[in-house]
């Protein structure tokens, strides 16, 4: 039923999901079936790279959900991503077992190095995959819930909220650097061996991880799309545009925001968990405030409040980043990123997808008999409206 809603009523979703489904099959196929000499072969590094882009796309999607549809600009969403990543990293560390440098069957190498005698309690259970998977969602989810509970109840909004989200990730960044926190300090968690019994580096594992990431992005998109198209989504847009008016209708704004923030953080956590096995490391740099700000740029470039745009923005900007940072242009990447942001916000205020979609929608409605609805004054968030019908 849900699938029908999306596939028939919403062409943009259908195209997006269709492309992802194709990628989920074709990329592993080309990686595994064609020999490296073949033109159709997709190399190991490419598979891992695109898998990373897709995990970033999930992160961007999670940010767009709160920023685009409820006006909550989180400048610390990287924190939830990193927490999910650490939960996965802890599982992967414990899978190493006695194959580590110090061959300790229980303790990860960095703990042996620090002369720790026993496993800290918060590492318990991470050898069991389902537990770790649960933590991928729960750790960021619970943090977001508690944070949201206090922040939204106290009616912290706008730039103040953005600043405290930034402080949150900054505090975690500082903490995770410390060796005595028990998360590998500066070096983080790395040297993973296998995941669910499969060697992490093996082509088949990489192909599977890519596919899983693509399918998770599809799933997260469907969830996000369902949420924004539901009546709850309409309440969120109402809160975004006239928060106090929504209260006078009897809606508990804090409950709505906390719900969405928690959902978004859990999604970011999943993104982090998929990222870690594909890049092979998680360290405190993921908590750095600059990382979170980059996520905002991806969403702005792709198109805030469009979901698809957020995902594409993440892929596009990171593709550009890889291209620029690996050649002679490397020193100029930050300038390029800055220029991109300025140009997009100046000339495409709705982002790439937002602008494209507006044009497409205008041409379509021009062909249809006059039907208002595209008459709203500011177009920036109009797609939130025009894509909303729930049949």
């Amino acid at each position: 039923m849900i699938a029908r809603t999306f596939l028939t009523d919403d062409r943009r979703s259908a195209i997006f999901l269709g492309l992802l489904a194709i990628a989920a099959v074709v990329v592993p196929f080309c990686h595994l079936v064609f020999p490296p000499s073949s033109l159709l072969h997709i190399g190991t590094s490419s598979v891992a790279l695109w898998g990373k882009y897709l995990s970033f796309a999930i992160l961007a999607l999670s940010l767009d959900l709160i920023w685009g549809y409820a006006g909550i600009l989180s400048l610390g969403h990287g924190a939830f991503f990193a927490l999910g990543g650490y939960a996965m990293g802890m599982y992967l560390m414990r899978q190493i077992g006695s194959r580590g440098v110090y061959a300790n069957p229980l303790l990860p190498d960095f703990m042996v190095f620090l002369n720790w005698k026993e496993l800290p309690w918060y590492w318990w259970g991470f050898d069991i995959f389902p537990f770790a998977a649960l933590m991928v969602v729960l750790a960021p989810g619970i943090l977001a819930f508690v944070f949201g509970w206090f922040a939204f109840r106290s009616r912290v909004t706008g730039v103040y909220l953005s600043i405290i989200t930034q402080m949150l990730t900054y505090a975690l960044w500082l903490s995770f650097f410390r060796n005595d926190m028990g998360f590998g300090g500066n070096n983080g968690l790395t040297d993973f061996k296998d995941i669910l019994g499969f060697p992490v580096q093996a082509p088949a594992t990489r192909a599977a991880l890519f596919s899983i990431t693509a399918m998770t992005l599809m799933l997260c998109y469907i969830v996000a799309r369902y949420v924004v198209a539901s009546k709850l989504g309409k309440v969120l847009v109402a809160i975004r545009d006239a928060e106090s008016r929504t209260r006078f209708l009897g809606y508990r704004v804090d409950a709505y925001k906390t719900f969405l923030f928690t959902l978004s953080a859990a999604m970011a956590g999943i993104a982090g968990a998929l990222y870690v096995p594909q890049v092979g490391i998680i360290n405190p740099s993921e908590f750095h405030p600059a990382q979170s700000i980059e996520v905002v740029l991806w969403v702005a470039v792709g198109g805030r409040g469009t979901l698809v745009g957020a995902a594409l923005g993440a892929i596009l900007v990171n593709f550009a980043k890889t291209t620029f940072t690996s050649g002679i242009l490397a020193p100029y990447w930050l300038f390029v990123l800055g220029a991109l942001f300025v140009l997009v916000t100046r000339f495409l205020p709705n982002g790439i997808v937002g602008t494209f979609f507006d044009v497409a929608a205008d041409t379509r409605s021009a062909r249809r008999p006059a039907h208002a609805g595209s008459t709203s004054a500011s177009g920036r968030l109009r797609e939130a409206e025009s894509e909303a019908p729930l049949k």
Binding site: K231, V235, D241, R245, F248, A377, E385, L390
Partner: protein, 249 residues
């Protein structure tokens, strides 16, 4: 069923000051079940502030605000007060500009306000029927799919009244409903409010005396944050202190 002998809304000795300026100064008011009351008063008399106090937007410094005898409104927040059955139309029309006219009504429609309920809510015939009916009443049937932000000022006023009807509260607070309306629209609005008042309690704030006369209800005159006079429009218009306040400056 309702006990018409007791007050639906009871204000007593309400004080509100903003940085030392007393916007409400010992305000007392008593609205009975099923009553419609018009409130008039010069600019700055405290009419809107009174509504802010009733709806939880402003906390009074002192005084009692009771709804339905048992609910102390000074202890509740906006959402809780709205859910008790108090709806409000703002002086400056406030609709959800990005939403369609239809969705504005849908959001206002009386019903479960909980997160999970609205996550799984589906379109249904009773809600649709109710929305159609209200669209007819407020004459916005042809505009249902338009963004509310694209409506004219008068249409926004009507939409907001429609949202009030959709909420179906026990008490409606209507702040300057006919500002910016033509004479014909004003008349229709008065008729509409009278109709609503048949099964709701209503407080209407308005400067337009013809409109107030048309409502034909008891009038309370506010001045400098407290009640100056109360009675029929003719009675209060004849009151010397009222004349002084309105003409004396």
């Amino acid at each position: 069923m309702t006990d018409i002998t007791h007050s639906l809304l009871y204000l007593s000795g309400v004080e509100v000051s903003f940085d030392g300026f007393r916007a409400l100064n010992g305000l007392s008011l008593d609205i009975r079940h099923g009553e419609m009351r018009a409130i008039i008063g010069p600019n700055g008399a405290g009419k809107t502030t009174m509504m802010d106090v009733i709806t939880g937007k402003t906390r009074p410094d002192d005084g009692e605000v009771l709804f339905d005898r048992t609910n102390d409104l000074t202890k509740l927040d906006e959402a809780a007060i709205a859910n008790l059955g108090i709806g409000r139309k703002f002086q400056k029309p406030t609709v959800f500009e990005m939403h369609t006219v239809e969705d504005n009504l849908l959001l206002a429609l009386r019903g479960n306000r909980r997160v999970v309920h609205n996550l799984f809510w589906r379109r249904n015939a009773p809600d649709e029927g109710r929305i159609d009916q209200i669209l007819g009443t407020i004459r916005l049937g042809d505009h249902r799919a338009r963004a509310a932000g694209a409506l004219s000022h008068g249409q926004k006023q009507w939409l907001e009244i429609g949202m009030l009807i959709a909420q179906d509260p026990k008490l409606l607070l209507v702040d300057e409903p006919v500002a910016g309306m033509t004479d014909a629209e004003t008349e229709t609005t008065a008729d509409l409010l009278r109709e609503i008042a048949r099964d709701h309690s209503v407080i209407v704030v308005e400067h337009d005396m013809d409109f107030v006369r048309r409502l034909g209800v008891r009038v309370t005159v506010l001045h400098e944050g407290s009640v100056l006079a109360e009675g029929s429009l003719d009675q209060v218009s004849a009151n010397e202190r009222v004349i002084e306040v309105y003409l004396g400056r």
